[in-house]
């Protein structure tokens, strides 16, 4: 989907989220702890929200939101983010975007 591609390529670290989703909030908090300021796009406040959700699942996002993109690449949902973080890989991926405030 054009909108998704545009947003993810423009923003280094990006989270597709819903304002009511507490797991999305948890992932956001994790990134903040890692000194990252991700761009959070709340799709429930976006009129194209449903389209975006469909596009995300087509792109291979396993579960429901959040959907995390780093450097334009889909990382995945909460499971993937947590696994990457525990293995130490997440910090490596985020290094170029740290401390950008």
């Amino acid at each position: 989907m054009e909108k998704v591609r545009k947003l993810t390529s423009e923003k280094g670290v990006m989270i597709f989220s819903k304002s009511t989703c507490c797991l999305c909030y948890a992932v956001h908090m994790l990134f903040q702890e890692l000194r990252i300021k991700p761009y959070v796009h709340e799709i429930d406040h976006d009129p194209d929200g449903k389209e975006i959700e469909k596009a995300l699942s087509r792109m291979g996002c396993s579960g429901p939101l959040p959907a995390v993109f780093i450097g334009g690449e889909l990382v995945g949902s909460t499971n993937e983010v947590m696994s990457l973080h525990l293995s130490g890989s997440l910090v490596q991926l985020l290094k170029p975007y740290q401390n950008l405030s």
Partner: protein, 360 residues
């Protein structure tokens, strides 16, 4: 609600009362049963006191007649006064009866209303309505979801198997068995923990509050509980002393793992706090005090799906922590670590039982 009222046409015998429409009150009410009797009753009364009127006499005239001389001798004003009193008594009686019947009718309507409400609520599986006793609603062991009963039984077996595996592992370590045997025990031990996470996922779907409350664990384990299970960071703290000696590389990796585990835990804790707040606001945010909080319950039910996701996410973190630590350690360290972990939980369970059974 329309009903026919009896229209009593005054008979000629009651001609002197033509100014008073005796039956006027009954024209709008529903006292079908009573009217005929009243008519007869009053007619009877009239008959008793008005035997002076003959069929021939035109209305309005009370005149002496030879046949009724003995009655005419009674003073007319006394008779008239008596009749007026009767009229008044009858009128009051009718009014009282009317009021009583109206009260019955409105009670009947209210009862129909309540019965319909109750039927509707029963269909939705909940109680509502101001007159029902809400203290009867509440958790009762006999009202367990079948998924929970299954989980409780399976968890009992899980603990037995866990105890068996712990003693096998202890024996294997102390008898200095080969790597292959130890690898076997470590693999089964890890799989056993993963089995528990699978069981918990099913139980969370059945009753997430039950799972999160930790009621299925001993009280000591429950005390240390975090989102329906043990804290991953706590697990690492328990393991660490038993993994010595660690190489420098291992030290670094364990240190990193502890830090990332703590960060992930903190993030999930913050998400949980937010969810808890949202749930409280949902339950308390509607209109309270009117005996019907079904809208709040409905809104909260949608949010409980998020709670299930959190429990699953916490178990995922536990699983990842176990897998990462086993990746960092060699087989002897992993075996010692698993044994320490197994004995740690046994210790907590024993602590619970001993505390509960101590003499008061």
């Amino acid at each position: 609600m329309n009903s026919t009222s009896t229209q009593f046409v005054p008979s000629r015998r009651m001609g002197i009362y033509e100014t008073v429409d005796v039956w006027g009150d009954f024209k709008e009410n529903n006292c079908l049963d009573s009217s005929p009797e009243m008519i007869l009753e009053v007619e009877g009364k009239v008959d008793n006191h008005m035997q002076i009127i003959s069929q021939d006499t035109s209305p309005g005239i009370v005149g002496p007649s030879n046949k009724y001389d003995h009655v005419v001798r009674k003073p007319v004003d006394k008779v008239l006064r008596r009749l007026a009193q009767n009229r008044e008594a009858a009128r009051k009686s009718r009014l009282r009866k009317k009021a009583y019947v109206q009260k019955l009718e409105s009670s009947k309507l209210r009862l129909i209303e309540l019965t319909q409400e109750l039927q509707r609520a029963r269909q939705q599986g909940l109680y509502m309505g101001g007159d029902l006793d809400f203290s009867q609603l509440g958790y009762s062991g006999t009202m367990n979801h079948p998924g929970i009963s299954t989980f409780e039984t399976e968890y009992g077996h899980w603990v037995e198997e866990q105890n068996r595996q712990v003693s096998e592992l202890r024996k294997a370590l102390h008898s200095c068995n080969g790597e292959r045997e130890l690898q076997f025990f470590v693999n089964s031990g890890m799989r056993h923990y993963f089995d528990l996470f699978t069981m918990k996922a099913a139980a969370a779907k059945a009753d997430v509050f039950y799972l999160m409350s930790g009621m299925w664990k001993t009280s000591a384990e429950c005390y240390f509980s975090w989102i329906g299970g043990f804290r991953p960071s706590q697990l690492l703290k328990v393991l660490l002393p038993h993994l010595e000696p660690l190489s420098d590389q291992q030290q670094l990796e364990v240190c990193n793992l502890r830090q990332s585990c703590q960060q992930a835990e903190d993030a999930l804790s913050q998400g949980m706090d937010k969810l808890r707040l949202i749930l409280v606001e949902t339950v308390s945010g509607g209109r309270l005090g009117e005996g019907n909080y079904l809208p709040q319950i409905r809104a909260a039910m949608e949010k409980l799906e998020a709670l299930v996701r959190f429990v699953n996410q916490a178990d995922h973190l536990r699983r990842e922590t176990l897998q990462q630590i086993s990746r960092i350690l060699d087989i002897y360290q992993a075996a010692r670590g698993l044994l320490a972990l197994g004995e740690y939980f046994q210790c907590l369970r024993a602590l619970s039982s001993l505390w509960e059974s101590r003499p008061s």
